[in-house]
Point group: C2
Chain length 462, copies 2
């Protein structure tokens, strides 16, 4: 009953684990702010020392930006389990606006709340608390068993909150060292409180931006209203053409590569505890406004979108200016799913727009915006079923394969550069206020997160 | 041959008239800038003195803003002609940007150009040069004949370039003193060089502005793209619904009160020298974009418009922000013609928008924006035909009744408050650069403008 002993060890050493997490949380490792570069270094040093205390061969590795941390621990000689690569990030978001914090963001506190104990600090949830669930699971496992159940490579990044500029070069330069059988990532949420979740599909993203120019200069609407092409009307007409009246994107070929959600997954989602009414009403919506025929959860996790994020032209000041402006601007992003190809889609969207332009309208596209495909996890691998069972055992609730509306680019990079499938398991809650003031992590998330990883490690090793 | 003598006097005293105009142009009477309040006072004093030199009973009259100038000259005892009210404005636009002026804007210069001599200064055309054409015509007429041919009230405003805040109260408070048989206004252009023009219809204007609110707060497009109503898509769809594919406004009842241009007027316009190709190509257009079936001139002078002057929402900075914004904003103006009722039209436009709003979209209308109906001059009055003939004689070219794309609100106020028809005759050229750097007035406009008024006065007195 090795696992039981490990879980007992986790329970009895929780306070010590929380103390260690507090130590990491005290370091204000804000990666976007150059003034905190030394703090990022200190957080990396802290992690190197912590991994070394587990017996890992760990190093801080320089990059042109914030350092990476890489550590290796071999499993037992007779290990039969996979070689795992665990990823987390030690950098945190800025604390702005500081006035809205009720406590010092870098003086972590355990607080009682109506929903149980929380540890409150910047990074408590995103991602220091989450990454430490895995490290603490390894510590307990080793303490009880003398070694880990399989070979593990730890890989911690310090630039996740600032766009990961060093990540791709580092993965390319260290592909051999970082190769493994499966990546584990702990940077996601549970779909509902108490519902263990494996994020099995992440949407991709396509960014684009265009400017429509009509008249050569701003014109007086008394003289040119009518005869001159108004770019604001032109851009409105084009944006209105992007969707049909059912909310479906009307760009030809847009849905190529989109797959319907399999029935068995759909049934899991229907019962995963997601509260559609609460999700919508919390932002003032009485109903879902996306594609007709799809639930809010399916719209968010498994359907592509084309959304306008910025739109502007003409006069924005007080009162009236009788201008026919020369230009109008639109920023858009698409969320991609399945096998949608960002490059092909970009060409289709641009064609859709250009086909609809009036004579005398000139268009310019921003050439600097990128795209990334959706990532669909390889849930057919036996490790996914093993992890799902382990999580179900810990939480006494069937674990679900969830989607994610947002993007976690590192999963795609692991696949593309290292050829590595990723499994995303996280214990954050929707109300953790990540990126916001008063970020917290539930002590239950931390405690049962550690226990969850111990169970997953144990299951994967078999 | 009284008129011939008067015209000869105008020709022989042109240099003196230009000197007087230069005196007025030297006063930087910028009404929008409080720092120039004393200069506006000085310009009013200058005009009072100049009118007194004609024998007028003239006064500077205080308002809460810049002063008005009112002067009266009786005609001969046996005068049979109408009592005329002449309007002009002595205030000028700011000179910004000063760097683009090639000369001091308030040091008027006579310059030779490829198109003849011009007098260059701020206000040379708008409106000091224009108003002095009438004053100089009166001076010459009186010098030759001993008196004016009819009773004349001069009324000069000093706030035209800053929205005329004191005008309506002043007209109301002094309605008896300002009553007359016909108003003359010299603040308009000739439709083409050398084509004498009487502006017989001015478009009105309706201003409105709305904000559409969707989500209660800005949202992350990864989480809410799709399920949440995007106000940028909503506002684009609504703006796109304002016009049909022929460029006609699709708001129900929009064209109520619009009359087709009578054939005889249409024929005048077709032959008035307006160069559609030049007008459009100068701003980058290869064709007119307004209502199908109407020429550019008719679109500009005699058709109503609904134009978007400002449109904005979401992220406008560099790069991408994956936001579903909470709000989107639209500023619009309509140009009105014929008997279109601004209040009724405002209600129709608002209904059009509100009928098309999606569930969960909230709308707010700016309640502070006004409207004014179109002004159609009473060209059936015999004075119009008399003036047309007088202008045709002076310019050796059939004078035309033109429309105007813009608005001259004072004409409407004269009608509404004083019950006074107005006749708008002006000699400005499209290339006078009013409101722009290097404003000028052709010496020919000034000289033949004075002669024109002398002929018009003579004709009206008969």
């Amino acid at each position: 009953m090795t696992l039981d002993a490990t879980l007992a060890q986790i329970d009895s050493s929780l306070d010590a684990a929380l103390d260690r997490l507090a130590g990491l949380l005290r370091i204000p490792s804000i990666s976007t702010d150059p003034a905190h570069a030394a703090d990022c270094d200190a957080a990396a040093d802290w992690l190197v020392a912590d991994l070394q205390s587990l017996g890992a061969r760990a190093q801080k590795r320089a990059t042109p930006g914030r350092p990476m941390v890489v550590g290796h621990i071999d499993g037992p000689e007779a290990a039969t389990g996979p070689h795992l690569l665990f990823y987390g990030h030690y950098d945190v978001q800025p604390v702005d606006p500081p006035d809205l914090w009720h406590t010092d963001p870098f003086a972590p506190e355990i607080q009682d709340t109506p929903h149980g104990k929380v540890i409150r600090a910047r990074g408590a949830s995103d991602d220091k608390g989450q990454l430490m669930t895995f490290v603490e699971a390894c510590r307990a496992y080793k303490d009880v068993n003398g070694s880990l159940p399989c070979r593990i490579t730890f890989f911690f990044e310090g630039e996740e909150e600032s766009g990961s500029p060093s990540l791709i070069p580092f993965l390319r330069d260290n592909a051999d060292e970082l190769s493994a059988d499966l990546a584990l990532i702990c940077d996601t949420s549970m779909v509902a409180p108490g519902v263990p979740s494996i994020a099995s599909q992440l949407r991709g993203m396509l960014k684009d931006e265009f400017t429509i120019e009509g008249p050569a200069i701003d014109l007086h609407s008394g003289h040119y209203g009518g005869p001159a092409l108004n770019p604001l009307r032109e851009i409105s007409r084009i944006i209105a053409s992007f969707h049909d009246e059912t909310g479906r994107v009307a760009v030809e070929g847009f849905y190529e590569g989109v797959h319907e959600v399999p029935d068995n997954l759909l049934r899991q989602w229907e019962n995963c505890g997601f509260d559609e009414h609460e999700y919508l009403s919390s932002v003032g919506m009485t109903r879902p406004h996306g594609e007709a025929g799809y639930s809010t959860l399916v719209q968010q996790w498994a359907r592509p979108t084309l959304e306008i994020n910025g739109l502007w032209g003409g006069y924005q000041g007080a009162g009236t200016k009788t201008v026919i402006p020369s230009e109008a601007h639109c920023k858009l992003t698409c969320r991609l799913v399945g096998d949608m190809d960002p490059d092909a889609l970009r060409a289709r969207i641009r064609k859709h727009v250009e086909d609809r332009l009036s004579p005398d309208a000139k268009i310019t596209w921003n050439q600097d915006l990128d795209g990334s495909p959706a990532a669909v996890m390889n849930t057919g691998r036996p490790e996914f079923e093993a992890a799902r069972q382990a999580l179900s055992d810990e939480w006494d609730r069937e674990a679900v394969f969830t989607g994610m509306g947002g993007s976690i680019p590192v999963a795609g990079f692991f696949k593309d550069i290292l050829g590595l499938d990723a499994m995303l398991i996280g214990f954050a809650q929707e109300d953790d206020a990540i990126h916001s003031p008063n970020e917290k992590y539930n002590v239950t998330s931390f405690h049962k997160g550690i226990r969850s990883w111990a169970r997953v490690l144990d299951a994967l090793a078999k």
